[in-house]
Amino acid sequence: MISGESTHFFSRTALMYVYMGHMRWNDIKPYEDWFWAKNRIQLVEDWVISIDYTNKSITTRSGKTLQYDKLVLALGSKPNKFGWPGQDLKAVQGLYSRQDLEMLEAVSPLVREAVIVGGGLIGIELAEMLLSRGIKVTFLVREKQFWSNVLPIQEAQLISKHILKHHVDLRFENELAEIVDDGTGSAGAIITKSGERIPCQFVGLTAGVSPNIDLVRNSELETKNGILINTFFETSIPNVYSIGDCAQFREPVAGRRALEQVWYTGRIMGETLAQTLCGNRQAYNPGPWFNSAKFFDIEYQTYGNVGASLAAGEAEFYWEHAAGEKCIHLVWDKDSGIFKGINTFGIRMRHELFDAWLRKKALVEEVVKHLRSANFDPEFYAHFEPEIIAAFNRASGKNVQLKPKTWWKNLLNT
């Protein structure tokens, strides 16, 4: 296993917690260091600079040559840069790698004000990180509300309000035009497309990521945005596979995207490819979509598909708690009543149940009446199911009765 980024595998999703002092670097490594040798996995800390597909060998920056029988390319992503003037100045960076984290750590003591460009999941994490060091944050979001290209407007608003509550200067429908040099080769201010100048000593570029395929872009390996693969993760070259953020399906599996850049899909791809490599050829066959995130203090989970806007033939129900920090959003097929997906904010839900409901195409009524059993919040938390169901019945004209809590496993068998 070769990586130039770090000696040992670490959890990329936890980078923010190292910066914020919740954990040390060692704590975000999912396995202790002895794990790899014990499991006969040899680690090489080095950058691969070229691949010779004919002789099945790779060369690393330090001059090593390694032979392979099968090669798996899991190169990950890199932050998008859209050719903004000044994007290569010092104190201008994305947040993706360990090196990014170290750079950020190094500039932080000099930063009083920061601007973050791009309102997505990494942007909001970066905002939280900088705030934890007392840095004032201006957050430029291209959309109408935070992440409203992915979230329905109600949820996007709810999160936007929460971001404001954390004293982030959140600017909607605002884009970066250029970054201004402070005279020392470092960022000194930014200018927005509307012409406003915002002084800052740090610019975070978090306008999405794209596959990190510089290594293979101009080789005989077929690529588009990412490395092109079939559902068995096979690339255009025999014995070369690709998974994770850098892989692009020629034909996505039903209901999925060609590029899937999240932790969970990376894991599922890895599990599946391992079967193939061990002689049990398997196609990528993920279950119903799920994802999660945390926006400052509000947790988000999603099961199935809830789009930013309702698709044709879909019906929806949205409930928001009076305090405005919890909500759920249900979507189902209007004609058949089949449950399509849920967004839940501030209320944890049980993955197993939703997975089962989505797979067996349960009706929305079934989901709603069992919300109490599907709740995954810690004990002693307040419950809102009666309120939710009453609102659901009012809005949909249906008449669903809340079922008392049953052990969730028992629901799987019915």
């Binding site: 002092g21 954990m23 947790e299």
Partner: protein
């Protein structure tokens, strides 16, 4: 708000400094009359002459110098008797207790004359300061939610100099408390006003001081805990309950029961954590104390052998460790800032299993010996050397246990090392009751921590903040439930998880371990066949 916080800190440190200075200051002068009225007849015969010549009417300026002088005479005299084989004259009061008793009465001057003021300058300032400090978090900490910012960047919580100083302070306190209680005599004077609320005729012992301090610390740090987790009802309820049990059962009842001539016992303290339960003096005292005493004796047995395992079966050992227990209560309140310091290494887990089960075996053997002695004392009063079983004295066994486990492990290492090894060192490596409940929890219980399908992102917050050093992530990232004997069910893993992956719950034993294969929910491709 920030200023208020620093004022709080200053007041708190002020209280702490006064408290510490008390160990080094004071005036001690034992008059002839005081000596005569405070020594027993035997002590007077044995020690009176030397004490009159060497100590009486002399001025000492610290409790330690006074206490050491007293102990020297006491020990030397005893040694003479031993050398002369005059066994009937040897005195058996522990010298440290003897010194404490005299130091109390010999204390003169400003300190004993201003107990109430001293109480204010130590406990008063400490409580007000600490409360100010933690209450400002409500504003300074931002909206409710998990705010572990800076924990690994602050010297107090990352084994930095503040942590090391705290560690030295705590260990010193325990060493004084257990082995040199007379050094704390001024501190006991400072809590006399509290003791007098219960019994105006009585004075505060070092154990009253400790018990009171324990309650104060747990309450103030409990307030901190509740503020920190105010968005999490499990934590709020649990903290209120565990502090309640400490205040009512471990403190108030202990003070109140004797006022009615009833034996003072902590009703929630279960064997083998309560290792003196079968000691002959305990059993005798209980059996001699009428119906209530007999009830306590029966209660102790039922609690340990029936209530504890049955409750663990239904709710896991958390019902005790995180909701009721005093040691656990201190760990969950005072110890909360240190929970991340417990080692998550596999090697630590291996050590843990040997140690804690070793202590359990030791506790059982010790209880067996002492039970034999107690049986003889009650049923064979005429028997010679009742304490000897297979040539070993029950007194020796339990003294060793009391020293190694009762004070060094539970006190000095258990609490003193909070800032170094984390807050549950005793509960994880040493507590025999935890070991006993752990066995039940692991093999026969409805409790587990459920992992929410495939939602884990392997971030490591759960493992980091597990005070028991469980590598929670190792299970969660594989979609497995967490079923571990050491889990005390504090619920913090579930609280800090940013993806809502963990839930403490009680459910059918069937399928308790959840997904056992390495393939995590969300992958429909295939299953691992067993």
């Amino acid at each position: 708000m920030k200023q208020l916080k620093y004022i709080g800190l200053t007041l708190f440190l002020g209280g702490l400094i006064v408290f510490t200075l008390l160990v080094f200051s004071g005036n001690f002068r034992l008059t002839e009359e005081l000596m005569r009225s405070n020594l027993s007849e035997m002590e007077l015969t044995n020690l009176g002459e030397r004490m009159s010549a060497e100590i009486v009417d002399k001025n000492y300026t610290s409790p330690v110098s006074f206490g050491n002088a007293v102990i020297q005479i006491y020990n030397e005299t005893n040694q003479q008797f031993r050398n002369a084989q005059q066994w009937d004259r040897v005195m058996y009061t522990p010298p440290k207790e003897f010194a404490l008793k005299l130091a109390r009465v010999a204390s003169t001057g400003w300190i004993p004359a201003h107990k109430a003021l001293l109480f204010f300058l130590t406990f008063g300032l400490g409580i007000i300061g600490a409360l100010l400090f933690v209450l400002t978090e409500l504003k300074l900490g931002g909206p409710a939610g998990i705010k572990n910012n800076g924990i690994y960047q602050r010297a107090a919580t990352n084994r930095g100099w503040v942590g090391i100083s705290t560690f030295i302070f705590l260990v010193s306190f325990y060493v004084l408390l257990y082995y040199f209680p007379y050094a704390l005599v001024n501190c006991t004077l400072a809590v006399d006003p509290v003791k007098h609320l219960f019994n105006p005729a009585d004075t505060a012992s070092q154990w009253f001081l400790y018990g009171f301090l324990y309650c104060v610390v747990m309450t103030v740090m409990g307030v901190r805990m509740i503020i920190k987790y105010r968005h999490n009802n499990y934590q709020v309820v649990r903290t209120v309950v565990v502090v309640f049990f400490q205040l009512i059962f471990a403190f108030l009842l202990i003070e109140i029961l004797p006022l009615f001539d009833l034996p003072a016992r902590d009703l929630k303290n279960a064997w083998p954590l309560d290792y003196t339960f079968l000691f002959e003096w305990n059993v005798q005292q209980l059996l001699d104390s009428g119906h209530f005493g007999k009830f306590l004796f029966a209660w102790g047995i039922v609690l340990s052998l029936v209530i504890v395992p049955v409750m663990v079966y239904f709710y896991g050992k958390r019902w005790y460790c995180s909701w009721v227990c005093g040691c656990g209560g201190l760990a969950e309140t005072l110890g909360d800032p240190y929970r991340q310091l417990s080692s998550k290494k596999l090697s630590a887990w291996k050590l843990e299993r040997w140690l804690i089960h070793g202590v359990l075996v030791f506790a059982i053997i010790m209880t067996f010996f002492t039970g034999y002695l107690t049986y003889n004392v009650i049923n064979n009063p005429d028997m010679e050397s009742k304490e000897y079983l297979v040539g070993i004295s029950a007194y020796d066994v339990r003294e060793l246990y009391g020293f190694l486990i009762g004070s060094v492990f539970a006190g000095i290492i258990g609490t003193g090392f909070y800032p170094i090894f984390g807050n549950r060192t005793w509960c994880r490596f040493g507590c025999p009751l935890a070991a006993y409940m752990g066995l039940v929890q692991r093999f026969k219980s409805r409790f587990r921590i459920t992992t929410n399908g495939g939602q884990c992102i392997s971030c490591g917050n759960c493992s980091t903040y597990c005070e028991q050093g469980i590598d929670v992530r190792a299970y969660a990232q594989k979609g497995q439930n967490i079923v571990r004997s050491s889990c005390v069910g504090c619920g913090v893993c579930a609280a800090v998880c940013p993806r809502g992956v963990l839930k403490l719950e009680n459910g059918p034993e069937q399928n308790r371990f959840g997904n056992e294969g390495p393939i995590v929910l969300g992958n429909n491709g295939f299953e691992i066949q067993n």
